[in-house]
Amino acid sequence: MKELTIISGKGGTGKTTVTAAFAILAKNTILADCDVDAADLHLILTPEEISSADFIGGRGPQLDSKKCTRCGECQHLCRFDAIDFSEESGYVINEFACDCCGLCAQACPEEAITMEDTINGHWFTSDTRAGKMVHARLGIGEDNSGKLVTLVRQQGKLMANKEGCELLINDGPPGIGCPVTAAITGVDLVLIVTEPTLSGMHDMERVHGLCRHFDIPALVCVNRFDLNLVNSEKIRGYCSEHKLPLVGEIPLDAIVNKAQVARQSVVEYDCGLVSQVVREMWSKVEKELNI
């Protein structure tokens, strides 16, 4: 089984547009939406849920105010400024600021703070017209998105093995932090979707740095390449300098948003230039993955 992750660094360059098209073009694949805090792939693939489960991301502190003697040791030690105090309510844990490290529970002389399992979100397996899919929803403002990405990928791999699928396609999150690391470590290939803007290029170089850091082979695709031909040429230069295969240049076209509004992938909605480029790109990715 091979694993491909689609990332970008900068958000909104077209990761999910490309992933949804690949999902339709790929035969015998499993899909995993690893952008767990702003998942969108389901909006195109309209999954029918097979199963759902809680995501227990870790443990969090619970303060029993009856046992609390207001000694303030927890607030004194907390490095995340997550313990508030007021005369009326006493000490209260601010769950948004809390890092769930458990130091307060260790330190409380009255044992008024205990660490309890926390449900940080939900994950699902579903049927879609492009194959089976694993996806998740992180609770609003919750921590542990990296862990949830790892879980989604693991479940995707299990499902691929069970179903005898030769490929797992992961739709990745933006950025270069913990969820991205969780989405790319150990995969066979990464596709970086960028755009010819200074931001897009700046972020592509950083996310490429991350791929090199983990020694993962990467390909590049330029979306809306005709928005700025000078910058697109610079991306070509960067790719050839770093021996990064450039597998496709997608033109700026209103069809992409129209397809999205119609809840279809671009290759389903239209057979114009955008679709053609994406199809050619997919053949190159298949070849690179050797499937």
């Binding site: 970008s8 660094g9 900068k10 958000g11 909104g12 360059t13 999910t16 952008d35 767990v36 805090d37 702003a38 969108d40 909006l43 870790g58 443990r59 030690l77 490095r79 995340f80 948004f96 600021a97 890092d99 769930c100 490290c101 130091l103 260790q106 330190a107 660490m115 992180l138 609003i140 403002g141 919750e142 998105s145 990296g146 933006p174 950025g175 270069i176 932090g177 913990c178 969820p179 991205v180 690391t181 755009e195 010819p196 803007t197 200074l198 931001s199 700046h202 972020d203 950083r206 740095g209 991350l210 928005l227 700025n228 910058n231 700026l252 209103a254 948003n257 999205q260 509004v261 809840r263």
Partner: protein, 283 residues
């Protein structure tokens, strides 16, 4: 006054809006909290006059004192320590720098050292009408998984006499929450597509839980459907501005040029946006 520019979905134009607003607002300060991919400097072209390292504490084991009891590993919620036989391993990339191990060690065998996770750059940029604009951003090191400690450091640089604009990271998890906490107002930048709406709803959920008043800016407002307007009506959220797609502006953006320098109409639009935000906060 501290306001955040956020979105949920990436690429809707947060940085475009944040930088343009900073360029026209009087006494503005721009702070880039998207420390994984900071881009505001590409448009504001600040002169950096102060650079600070951002570090995080990590445990250091004194093998002379350690009895390999394993309590440090047991107490670590992030599995950043392992004790195998007479060896203690510290996985610094998993460490959150909370100090629980140091606190717990019965032999006082753990002290702390620091590791660099990124940096802050502070400077000034030229705003329109020759105003001066305060600038700061955080940059996370490549390979560093933890951006919230850097975001916290960026927010410590907020100047309370300024109209402080925080450029938030995408998503709805810890880095975005860390940015929004304590803000007076949040402007969500979205686009009229199913992805834009889906992620906007999640982001508004965060603002509501944090009890931060919010408004919406619809970018590329003519490039999708009308579901955002529907949603805002239903939820009674004010749309402060709509900007239609303009290929010239997109081209200017691609070269790192700010829209307000390019277009008089948008300059006035952003001045109005600033006034509306101030009015909302003072309401």
């Amino acid at each position: 006054m501290i306001i955040a520019i956020a979105s949920g979905k990436g690429g809707t134009g947060k940085t475009t809006i944040a930088t343009n607003l900073a360029l026209v607002a009087p006494a503005a300060q721009y702070l880039d909290c998207d420390v994984e991919e900071p881009n505001g400097h590409l448009f504001l072209k600040p002169k950096i006059n102060d650079k600070r390292n951002v570090t995080m504490p990590i445990p250091k084991i004194d093998e002379e004192l350690c009895t390999y009891c394993g309590q440090c590993a047991a107490v670590c919620e992030f599995n950043a320590l392992a004790v195998i036989g007479d060896k203690v391993m510290v996985f610094s990339e998993l460490c959150h720098g909370c100090g629980a191990c140091t606190f717990t060690c019965p032999e006082k065998a753990i002290s702390e050292t620091t590791k660099s996770i990124g940096c802050l750059e502070i400077g000034k940029a030229n705003a329109v009408e020759s105003n001066e604009l305060l600038f700061a951003h955080g940059i996370s090191n490549i390979g560093n998984p933890l951006s919230p400690p850097i975001i916290k450091k960026v927010k410590k640089l907020v100047n309370n006499d300024c109209f402080a604009i925080l450029d938030a990271p995408p998503g709805t998890s810890c880095p975005m929450v860390q940015t929004l906490m304590g803000c007076d107002y949040c402007l969500f930048v979205t686009e009229p597509t199913p992805f834009g709406l889906n992620d906007l709803e999640l982001a508004v959920g965060v603002a509501r839980q944090l009890e931060i008043p919010c408004g919406i800016l619809v970018n590329r407002s003519d490039s999708g459907d009308d579901q955002i307007q529907e949603y805002c009506r239903r939820e009674a959220i004010q749309i402060l501005m709509e900007i239609p797609f303009d290929r010239d502006l997109a081209f200017a953006y691609s070269k790192g040029e700010a829209a307000v320098i390019h277009s008089q109409k948008l300059r006035e639009g952003f001045q109005k946006l600033h006034q509306k935000i101030v009015a909302e906060v003072e309401k």
